[in-house]
């Protein structure tokens, strides 16, 4: 090993802390790049696998290919593999339900490969192994009065569908031909005379819409196609060697027999999309664009860390390179020395980064699968991201090379005399470090020194300031996204509403309703419940919002709205939120009449009624048994209700946003509206599933389980939080590495100065104060630049979301607070760390040490 190489290794070992922080920096950058691409790959692959699972792995299917022409497709060089399916014919469902749209079986025959690759999703049983065995769908029982079990025999009379004219044969893509009102079936079913006996060997899920369209009047069942039974016309599904050309090749093959005679075909859109092939811009490309933007941010930050580390390294060894040059090292050798150092660091850091990223992606995919896999009804699996590793490695190497080549060139240019003589790399210019007088007056000499120092090492600090700025800006922007995105979804989703099941009794009489509710309330696992009562009133058109009416192009109307009584407990909670006393609350009603509508390309809010809070309005009672639309309003029973308050953002049980109603106490309703009805029962259950099962067994009970959708929203939210905060965390970590690197080095380089200051009589306290001041100047500078940029970004995002929502811009004070606190904590901790190190040093030894 040559001496320069030895020197490199020894240097790395000597400056252990620097080496480690540099390695961490490179590691994080590599890991972040790999993880971003890796996650992209895993999600893309998961989506692709999901598409294959449900619609098969073929790229295109050609229909009705005559026997003698099959070889043109199957022997095409661009085809990797193919499988053959054919329609045997239709058969009527034996005991089909009277008015059922689905009236036939479509018997499809699949060859060996098609059975395994064409997206059959078995629920139970096995695939057919001969032409007497058959697979039917799990929903078959919904369309027939007959039970279908594995092992049962099916006797089918094969036929064909013909149009009402009797001329046209109907295929799988034709919907049921009926009269215009859909009452009568027009198409004809003609038996071919063939009869088949099948044994059910498996139950499958409904096949994809390419095989069985949503409007199909039949249920597909699948049987085995032996090779010798391939008939005249078959459907051939193909997989291409080069998926990227799928659309072109398909077109080409379909036209093999000339333009007019071209084959009918379909392409497997989902599979092609997730393979990254598409005719137009679509989700796959969007995904890549998003990943691309993220990667640009990451590369940007990591280049700074790595560049900074190398710059610092050169500064530290400025003298050493001068010395090497003075004893005859050529600039080439010195340059190589620097690059070598970069090489060693890369060799250690890149593999570590890749390992870290693999682990991170693995964990994230697992998390996503556990959190939302069930709701998304798909399986997120970890795929080894070969491409991601390749890209990450290449990008890291390029970054390292670029960030080391500049310092290397600089090192090579060092003139020996200059390096040995002068102690400072940076030429200090008088003008650059002039400080305003007040600095010294206010902060004393310590403040002056720290202020001037900041100005001196502008370049070094700039990179660090930038990395803090990037962290702050990203943090502010992303927290804004979360705020707006969730603020947005919150309007549509239920949260903390105090119930997860809504039950409606369909009985006619109040007493029976109550009886049923009473019965339900005794079920195990019900934490709390609330029963509401309601009636209807009509508010006269004089109160109707004129502007709204005009907006919708109508005139003012009498409007009938429910008047809902909620239990006292909830009512009292609500009036408290609204700021009404309990006594006052009993005397009137709370009005909910918010309307949100689209105006000037924006959502706007308004009130349906021009009623003031505190106003007593005239309204008319409705008879619940029959809404008396025909009765003129004057003939209805008139009554007066005082409107206490209007409901704003406040929520209470059972009153969703956008509901128009009056909310009153139970007592009020019973007194003034004796014809009220018992309405819904709201249940908060520990295990909603269990309660729902019990409700299923009750007669005349309808219910909605909100638990699933709430859980789903929460899970999606959690996943977004994990990704967003994970991203912020790593970017911040890179920033912290940067800060740590710069500050510690800077402090180390100045330790001689510090020792000098101490030797002329600076006390420890004064010294610490000086450093603290420097941290404050430093943090302030980053914040002064970072906060406006972050706010600008968050405002831009607000504008983006603002087009579809009427929300006022809110300065994210909390996030700003967190950012400010965080910046100062990080800077202080790093300074403190270096201070401790410096304070341990002996003044004399430091002053005499020439190696710094």
């Amino acid at each position: 090993m040559n001496v320069l190489k030895k020197l490199t290794i020894r240097n790395l070992k000597l400056n252990k802390k620097r080496t480690i922080t540099t390695i961490i920096g490179i590691m994080l950058s590599t890991a972040l790049i790999c993880a971003t691409f890796g996650l992209g790959t895993s999600f893309q692959q998961s989506l692709l696998q999901d598409a294959i699972k449900s619609s098969g792995d073929y790229h295109a299917t050609f229909y009705n290919i005559p026997k003698e022409e099959q070889k043109y497709i199957t022997e095409n060089r661009q085809i990797d593999s193919y499988y053959i399916t054919q329609d045997l014919g239709y058969a009527e469902i034996e005991k089909k339900l009277p008015d059922s749209y689905n009236r036939y079986w479509l018997i499809k025959q699949y060859d060996e490969k098609a059975l395994t690759n064409n997206g059959i999703q078995l629920v139970e049983g096995r695939l057919p192994e001969n032409e007497n065995e058959i697979l039917i769908q799990d929903r078959a029982t919904d369309y027939s009065n007959q039970e279908y079990r594995i092992g049962d025999m099916m006797h089918l009379k094969i036929g064909e569908r013909y149009s009402s004219t009797g001329e046209e044969k109907l295929g799988a893509m034709n919907p049921l031909e009926t009269t215009e009102d859909g009452e009568q079936v027009l198409e004809k079913f003609v038996l071919t005379g063939e009869e088949k006996e099948y044994k059910i060997v498996g139950i499958m899920k409904r096949p994809s819409s390419e095989i069985e369209p949503y409007y199909a009047p039949f249920l597909v069942c699948i049987t085995y196609l032996p090779e010798n039974k391939i008939t005249e016309n078959v459907d051939i599904s193909v997989k291409y060697k080069d998926v990227t050309k799928a659309y072109e090749i398909t077109e080409e093959i379909s036209k093999q027999n000339g333009e007019e005679n071209s084959y009918e075909y379909i392409t497997n859109g989902d599979v092609l999309r997730w393979s990254g092939v598409s005719k137009r811009t679509n989700i796959a490309t969007t995904l890549y664009v998003v990943v691309g933007i993220i990667v640009v941010i990451i590369i940007f930050s990591s280049v700074f860390v790595i560049r900074n580390s190398f710059r610092i390294m050169i500064t530290e060894k400025y003298r050493q390179y001068g010395m090497l040059a003075s004893i005859g090292a050529t600039s080439k050798q010195i340059k190589r020395n620097v690059l070598q150092e970069a090489f060693y660091l890369g060799v250690i850091a890149i593999p570590l980064g890749i390992l870290g990223s693999l682990l991170a992606v693995f964990i994230l995919v697992l998390l996503v699968q556990n959190l939302i896999g069930e709701y998304a009804n798909m399986e997120f699996t970890f795929y080894f991201p070969w491409m991601a590793i390749l890209i990450g490695t290449v990008l890291s190497i390029v970054t390292i090379y670029l960030s080391s080549i500049i310092p290397a060139r600089k090192a090579a240019k060092i003139s020996p005399i200059e390096a040995i003589r002068s102690n400072t790399e940076i030429k200090i210019k008088r003008k650059k470090i002039q400080a305003p007088k007040w600095i010294k007056k206010l902060f004393k000499i310590g403040g002056l020194i720290s202020y001037k120092n900041l100005k001196r090492s502008k370049k070094q600090y700039r990179t660090t300031v930038i990395s803090i700025v990037v962290s702050i800006a990203i943090f502010l922007a992303l927290t804004s996204i979360i705020q707006y995105a969730f603020g947005f979804t919150d309007i549509y989703y239920y949260e903390n509403i105090g119930y997860n099941i809504v039950v409606r009794s369909e009985e006619e009489e109040n007493e029976k309703n109550l009886q049923q509710y009473n019965e339900i309330s005794k079920m195990d696992g019900i934490e709390q419940y609330s029963i509401q009562k309601m009636a209807y009133i009509t508010i006269g058109k004089e109160y109707d919002n004129k502007e709204l009416a005009q907006y919708y192009g109508g005139s003012q109307l009498d409007r009938t709205i429910p008047i809902i009584a909620i239990e006292d407990k909830y009512y009292n909670e609500l009036v408290q939120k609204l700021g009404i006393s309990k006594e006052e609350a009993k005397t009137g009603a709370i009005l909910a009449d918010n309307v949100s509508y689209y105006k000037d390309n924006k959502y706007a809010t308004a009130n349906q009624f021009t009623i003031k809070e505190g106003e007593t309005i005239k309204c008319y009672q409705e008879n619940l048994a029959e809404i008396e639309e025909e009765t003129p309003i004057e003939n209805k029973k008139q009554m007066e209700i005082k409107i206490l308050k209007r409901l704003g953002e406040e929520q209470t049980i059972g009153i969703g946003r956008g509901t128009h109603c009056l909310i009153v106490t139970e007592e009020f309703l019973q007194n003034y509206m004796p014809n009220y009805r018992i309405s819904n029962m709201y249940i908060q259950a520990e295990e909603p599933e269990e309660i729902c099962k019990m409700l299923d067994n009750m007669e005349n009970i309808e219910y909605t389980n909100y638990d699933e959708s709430m859980k789903q929203t929460k899970a999606i939210r959690t996943v977004i939080y994990i990704f967003v905060y994970g991203f912020i965390a790593v970017i911040t970590l890179i920033g912290v590495t940067n800060i740590f690197n710069t500050i510690t080095t800077n402090m180390l380089l100045r330790s001689k100065e510090f020792a000098m200051l101490k030797s002329v009589g600076m006390t420890g306290k004064e010294f610490n104060n000086m450093i603290r001041l420097e941290s404050i100047f430093y943090g302030l500078k980053s914040l002064i630049i970072g906060l406006p940029i972050g706010l600008l970004l968050s405002y831009a995002l607000y504008k983006a979301f603002g087009t579809s929502m009427e929300i006022t811009y809110q300065i994210p004070w909390t996030s700003i607070g967190i950012a400010v606190l965080f910046v100062f904590i990080i800077v202080f901790i790093t300074m403190k760390y270096s201070l401790n190190k410096i304070n341990k040093q002996n003044i004399i030894e430091t002053i005499r040490n020439d190696n710094i």
Binding site: K440, I445, E753, M756, S759, V760, G761, G764
Partner: protein
């Protein structure tokens, strides 16, 4: 009047076989206004002795009295305050703060002490040092001799009890060396400043009132000049 008394001063580095007695049981006194040169070969312990006198290092044992005060009884912070008021240090490599200009470097000990600088005194000092026209310059804009003059200014600004110089001419050419020596002599005469200089240079030593020779951490000769 006695300004410095050193009593049985020891500074030992290392332990056992590696033990080095940099300063070995040294005792001596210096009168106010004396100009003392300490000479000795490289590694004789003279620098260590100087740093112990200057209160920037701590001895293994023994005492140093400056103006009657036992300086190693002081806490670190008090010692620092004592240093900036009573001791002026001059180093071979000047050790100026690169971001402060000439004037700021000179007044640094006053600023640290939050004392007002007498502008006339400063003006006079700058004139004496020949730095009047350079007072706004940064150290890297000055020659070595000029930089060393700044550090003399810094050492003298607070009229310390003792001015200590560690090889002040070690890094300078002969012309600049002469200037520095005459400045040291001038301050000794003009401000009645007590000066202790460590040097290799016979010429400087001969300018001093008293020459102390050190070898292996011990005083082997202590003689008055002329």
């Amino acid at each position: 009047m006695e300004i410095l008394r050193v009593e049985n001063l020891n500074k030992i580095y290392g332990k056992g076989e590696n033990e080095v007695r940099a300063v070995d049981n040294v005792s001596f006194q210096v009168e106010k206004g004396e100009f003392v040169a300490i000479i000795g070969s490289s590694g004789s312990g003279k620098s260590t002795l100087l740093h112990l006198i200057g209160g920037v290092d701590r001895p293994t044992s023994g005492k140093v009295y400056i103006d009657g005060k036992d300086i190693y009884q002081l806490s670190n912070d008090n010692l620092a305050i004592f240093r900036r008021r009573q001791i002026g240090l001059i180093y071979q490599f000047y050790n100026l703060i690169p971001i402060l200009n000439v004037e700021e470097n000179i007044t640094l000990p006053c600023d640290l002490d939050e004392q007002k600088v007498n502008p006339e005194k400063l003006q006079d000092l700058l004139k004496t040092l020949g730095l009047e026209k350079r007072k706004k310059h940064l150290p890297n804009e000055l020659s070595g001799g000029q930089q060393q003059r700044v550090s003399i200014g810094r050492a003298i600004i607070n009229s310390p009890a003792i001015m200590l110089a560690d090889e002040p001419t070690g890094n300078l050419d002969s012309k600049a060396s002469e200037e520095i020596i005459s400045l040291l002599k001038l301050s000794n005469k003009k401000y009645k400043q007590t000066v202790i200089v460590i040097t290799h240079d016979e010429k400087i030593a001969l300018e001093a009132d008293r020459i102390i020779t050190i070898e292996d951490g011990k005083i082997i000769k202590d003689e008055r000049n002329g």
